[in-house]
Symmetry: C2
Subunit: 427 residues, 2 copies
């Protein structure tokens, strides 16, 4: 872990963790997208063979596969999935938006009509691990929003199968369209449609670099949620915080990805050192610790600040996906944190509770995009339409001002669309 001591007068410039674009990957993704657009399923079969080493001829998961999945998971696993679905649903139901209409004194109605998206595609990453939680965290906001058609895509293992947890979670949510296809080719299938996978209106969910680049490339053709980068955690803690909790939380993010960032921001020298020691201890106890070790070595950082305000500045400058607050006055800190995907308050709000169980989606902005992006939510799965119903009185009241502005902008036909109605009215 890198120690960075900031003096009082330091203007905070943390290391830039932003994802660098890989030109070769961009080109490779463009080729994949074009191939799927032109050849449809045929391309999906070939690309799945090439990238996932799997021979898949029919991408839709069958009822038999779902049944098999239920046979392999334990009761406590099924219960945990059900509990997570309940909590995440409860939280997202608070986000439901409704259409609204206001009336003006002149008899006009103005409002906003809220409509769920018709069709969405959820990407669930695979490869190194199985992510039933990603199914839940993507699908629940869409279900709560009222999306009619929800499809899931996830990369198959070399035997052409998806993890049992993923299938069970999807089935518990009532999602029938689960496709065994991953990577940029899955994004292409959702964006353009193929013989067996229908085009959607929006694609959400995290994935590797190829998935992220493919989502970026199809944006505009369909909507996307965000371009996800490696996971990040930033712990803001004072000397009263528990170093073993902090170390465990840093490692929980570090194990996701060699590129994950694990950052401590503190004013306490002694805490900084205690956390470093704990990270080393816990790493030595952790089985399969290679990824976490690499991430801590490359992107583990401890900022030692000369004041609480400077610490807040660092946290805001980093604009991390996850921010934990373990200080004496956490609620005051919450008010001051402007940029974060999710904030976890106090010693028992381990970031991990948010990954699985608390309620908010774990699909969160990364790479500093918390400056302008939000967690995946019901809002991602609705769209709004403005509604304008002008009364005759409103029309007559506004007519002159509208014509004045239209002619100011040199738009004569705009002015005449008003004029033709005024003339008619005086006939």
């Amino acid at each position: 872990m890198q120690f960075i001591r900031l003096e009082k007068e330091d203007t905070v410039v943390p290391k830039n963790l932003r994802l660098q674009e890989n030109e070769k990957a961009v080109q490779s993704v463009a080729t994949i997208l074009e191939q799927v657009k032109v050849e449809g399923d045929k391309a999906l079969v070939a690309l799945t063979k090439q990238f996932d080493k799997a021979t898949v001829s029919s991408f839709l998961v069958t009822k038999e596969e779902i049944e098999t999945a239920y046979g392999t998971i334990r009761n406590e696993e099924l219960d945990a999935i059900k509990q997570a679905i309940k909590n995440v649903t409860d939280y997202h139901e608070e986000q439901i938006k409704t259409s609204w209409m206001k009336t003006r004194k002149d008899g006009s109605l103005l409002g906003q009509k809220v409509t769920p998206l018709e069709a969405v595609g959820l990407y669930v990453p695979g490869g190194k691990a199985a992510y039933p939680s990603s199914v839940i965290m993507n699908a629940v906001p869409a279900l709560v929003a009222g999306v009619e058609r929800i499809a899931i895509a996830s990369p198959p293992d070399p035997f052409g199968h998806l993890p049992a947890g993923v299938l069970v979670a999807a089935n518990e949510l009532g999602i029938q369209s689960i496709y065994k296809v991953g990577g940029a080719q899955a994004i292409a299938a959702f964006a353009f449609g193929t013989e067996s996978i229908a085009k959607v209106d929006k694609i959400t969910g995290p994935g590797n670099q190829y998935v992220a680049l493919a989502k970026r490339a199809v944006f505009g053709e369909v909507d996307i949620d965000m371009i996800a980068g490696p996971s990040e955690i930033c712990v803001l803690a004072d000397e009263g915080a528990n170093p073993s909790y902090i170390a465990a939380d840093l490692l929980s993010q570090a194990e996701h990805d060699e590129l994950a960032s694990a950052i401590l921001v503190t004013t306490s020298n002694s805490l900084a050192e205690a956390v470093r020691d704990e990270v080393i201890n816990q790493l030595n106890e952790l089985p399969n610790s290679e990824i976490a070790r690499q991430a801590i070595s490359d992107y583990g950082q401890v900022f030692i600040c000369s004041s609480a305000n400077q610490a807040i500045d660092v946290v805001n400058e980093l604009a991390c996906e996850h921010v934990e607050i373990m200080t004496e006055d956490p609620l005051e800190m919450v008010g001051k944190i402007k940029h974060a995907g999710a904030i976890f308050i106090g010693p028992y709000s381990a970031e991990v509770v948010g990954d699985y169980m608390a309620g908010p989606s774990h699909v969160l902005p990364t790479n500093g995009t918390a400056r302008f992006s939000s967690p995946l939510s019901v809002d991602d799965f609705i769209k709004k339409t403005s509604v304008i119903s002008y009364s005759k009185a409103a029309f007559q009241g506004d007519a002159q001002a509208i014509m004045t502005l239209a002619r100011m902008e040199g738009l004569e036909a705009h002015a005449r669309a008003i004029e033709v109605r005024l003339k008619e009215g005086t006939k």
Copy 2:
């Protein structure tokens, strides 16, 4: 205008109006972005000379320029601007979102913190016309959201000036950072920052193809609202509708751009013919009608449907920016229209009232993106942060399920972030 008669059994496949990407423009935009990123203001000066034929050395509009602008606009113009600002502000104040928090029985708090974006850049198109209305329709939602730093960029005329209406509208809104720079170079300045123009978090507003491509290219580095294409209007009308109103409204969109679409969807043969005749008559009366004439010729369409339901299907399939409803039962139609940027109900809700005065922003999704995009609104200028505060009781209640899910996903360090707290608790 092209007449398209749909038989009962026709599955509706309207002409694809989606914007084709121009490879040369994409390349040219990439070069401009890189140039501004590397050379900053120096590049802006050179590109403004090249594209706007203007010699501008200082991009920030001065107080003197604002004063001059006030000297040149008429009182009724100023009053119209003020009235528009008031109406648009009233409407957007209905959209304000607040942070919320819910408590669980186990003492946990879960919520969402709403924060305005810190800095946004509004693009106001120029060139063929002056658009004070674009200033209002972009800036008001940002102001209502509470954005601290709002900047405007708009292309200067060959004398290095912006239109008086644009300057007055911006000044009435209290916006001080107005920059005389347009095109892809303005988008680059907002995205990367230069010596004189600060980097922003989000760029909004419509523009020409270069602006649209530049916004697309910088998406991810900053947020953008949407990728705007040529204007579109779709009028859904039955035989009782007034053909001269419809014709005037079709032309009001057609005059924006040779690529604008003006579409009538009806079940009435006689209305279709009457509208066509009126379009021809009104075009002959319209000064400077070249653009509108070209648009009507290339993208003017009349769909004559065999049933009201088929007409609704066509409207939904087109997913137009503006949809006018002039039928006997407009409110029933509103419920059935799933995809539209804005809906205008009844004979007095000319689309033009929405362009200037009604309240909703006229920055709307185009090119079929109303399937998944929404009008520019206060929501575009806020972001949300999930807030999780777990009590000890909540933590203990959920601990087992979280560890089960973490281990199911092969994430041991995740499970241990729970375990370390359980152990500590039982010490």
